[in-house]
Structure formats: C-alpha cells, structure tokens
Assembly symmetry: C2
Homo-oligomer: 194 residues x 2
DNA sequence: GTCTATAAATAGATAGAC
DNA sequence: GTCTATCTATTTATAGAC
C-alpha cells in the first residue's frame, strides 16, 4: 500500500493526499471516493497492519510449542512482519509518540489482541515453570522496543551520509533475531541454562 | 521549551508555528526573528535534547565505577532525562521513524557522542571481563528501545478511554528502571550471578 | 467509477509600524 | 525587539463532467 509507506515516512500530517494518490497511480478524488477522508485512509492502514501482527502472534500463542519456543517464534514473526510491511515499526512508533490520537476503539481492539497473545505466552511459560514472573507490559516493551527501534534506526541509516557513523552500522537480520531471542530468554528464565 | 512539547506530540509537520508562539506567550514574528525558520527552531530543540543526553551519558562513561554499575547508572540517567524532558523519547523516535531528514551534520555529531559514550562503557566492561562481547548497536537498541517505547506507551495511555487496557497499564518508574537494569546485565554478563 | 477544476481553510514566512 | 496585518503556497475536500 502506497499510503502506508508515505504515512510511515512522513507522518499523518507530513503527507499530502495528492502525493499518496500519485504514488498509488490514481488521483485524489479516487481516494476520497473509496476511503472518505484522509483520516479514514490512515486508519485502514493501521488496522491492516495490526490485523497482520495480531494474526501472526495469535497463531503462535495458540500453538502447542513450549513457551520458550513460542517467545523465539514471536520475535522471529515480528522481525518477519517488519520485512513484509516495512511501515510497521515507524507507523507504530509515530502513532504512539503522538499519544495515539487516531486510534479509535475498533483499532484499539486490534492492538489489545496483539498484547493479549503475547501475555498468554508469558502466562503459559510461568505456569510451566519455564519463566519467572515478569510484568508482562515490561516484557513486551523489552522485546518490542528494540525490534521497533532498530527498524527505524535502519531507516535513518539508509539516508545518504550516515553509513560511516558507528550507531548506523548495518546489523544482520539473523544476528538481530538471535540476539533478541537470547536476551528475551535471559530476561524470562529463572536458571542459567541458556 | 514549548516548542519541544508541541513537536514531540504532533510532529514537525503537525505543529503550526502560530501554536508554538501562542504556547510560548509570544507571537509568530518573534519566533522567526529569533530562530529564522521553523526548521531551525526544530533543530535547536533536538540539539538541546541531545546535548543533555550526551552530557549525562559521557559523565557516566568517564567515571571510574565498575562497568556494570555504569550500565545501571546509564539506564537511570535515561529514565531521569525522560522525566526532565518529556519530549525526549517521542521526539527521538519520530525523527528516526522519518529517517532523520532534519538531522544535519552538527546534530549527528551530538547523536554520535551519545552512542560513543555507551559503547565505551561496554568496552570497559569487556576489557574487565565483566561483560561478554555483544554487538554494541544491538546492546544500545536493547536498552534504549524499551525505555523509549515505554515512554511513548505511557503517553498513549494517558489519553482518555485507555486506562482499562492491559497494555496501557501504569508501570512504576522504579520498577521500570530496576527491570531494565536487570535485563541489561543479564544480556551483558557471561554468568547469571545477578 | 474515474477524472478535472476549484472551493475553502490553513500554514510558513515577511513587510512594516512602533 | 515586538507586534499586526498580509502575502503566497499548499492542503483537504468536493462539485460536477464523462
């Protein structure tokens, strides 16, 4: 979706509907005909994203793998979603930074489902004594935060004249996933077996 | 600074210079007289923020505490900066999400200093064999990511009609800092003695 | 359904009085 | 240095032809 790319890069206010239309190969009146308003178009983009994330995460939570494997797959899934929908992290972080003024109740339900699936994984791990008890909100932030922030870091790194800065050094995708899987399990497990 | 609050909430394009002026108790022409343009004003806000962060972090890196204590103080300092400058996390995440189009070379130097100080802490820890070798960029993301993302999560949680959602539950500041300190050290240390 | 043209509002920036 | 008034460009949104 062209709108998703534009919104994630320039923000809701930074994008002109005209530009979205041109990028999508239609004209402005078409967008208004199909979506009603700029805000409705934006909401559709956010919802599509949240449905994708929620679907993937819920499937993992429902599976019957051990909880540590579920956490590893959760991290892999979020990393994969970032590949298939590059606008996911910046759009999410922008919306949260703004205080979520364009998150209506229907969209909040979708966000809620994502977190609920993650929390269910933690709960399963605690019940099986694989995990110690951790505040699920903090655990969620600890896993999602680096994945989201690294994605926008790479976005900023891609601009010209940045590559030489150490903080914008390229990080291999597999290295990122492995690091986050290890860190997450170190955070969650009681013993030192990993 | 009123401009910082406005930019962090609504983004560069989402704020009208008129609104910033009103919030600051002056008029628009005054802002242009003193700052030249909206972009220059924005850059001053970002630079002020980065100078504050860089100063705090560099002081910690320079101190002669053991590396694990430095990491703990780093986390505490970032959490404190978020209190004294609430616009810090959203402004940072927004700018990175946009690809940093308003980060000029002088501002990048300030960003570079923050990361350099953090990397120096890691290096000291590795040299003293307190830490295992970890990609410093990933370690930086793993610590900054949750702190930044939790800050904007709380911002979104503050909007009306959100408090009942589990993902917007309040998290005690001390609990956040303690959790991040523990998680960071679990990530960095070879053994699990903590 | 798809387009062109345009209305109506708003924004960044400046001129010029004091 | 500080203000009011205004210019100019841009933007969301819609009217109306086809």
């Amino acid at each position: 979706m062209a709108a998703a790319t534009a919104f994630s890069r320039d923000g809701f206010d930074g994008v002109a509907v005209d530009d979205i239309a041109r990028a999508a190969g239609v004209n402005k009146a078409m967008l208004y005909y199909h979506f009603g308003s700029k805000q409705d178009l934006y909401r559709e983009v956010v919802r599509d994203m949240l449905r994708a994330v929620g679907g993937a995460v819920a499937a993992i939570a429902r599976s019957d793998a051990p909880a540590p494997a579920k956490v590893e797959r959760f991290i892999q899934a979020v990393a994969d979603l970032r590949e298939s929908r590059p606008w996911f992290p910046p759009l999410m972080l922008r919306e949260m930074s703004a205080g979520g003024p364009r998150l209506d109740p229907d969209t909040l339900v979708l966000m809620k489902a994502v977190f609920a699936a993650f929390a269910a994984i933690l709960e399963a791990g605690s019940a099986a004594r694989d995990f110690r008890r951790v505040n699920p909100v903090l655990a969620y932030m600890t896993i999602m935060g680096p994945l989201m922030m690294n994605a926008v870091r790479e976005r900023a790194a891609a601009e010209p004249g940045r590559a030489h800065l150490p903080m914008f050094a390229a990080v291999d995708r597999h290295e990122l996933v492995t690091h986050m899987q290890q860190t997450a399990l170190r955070m969650l497990t009681k013993d030192r077996s990993r």
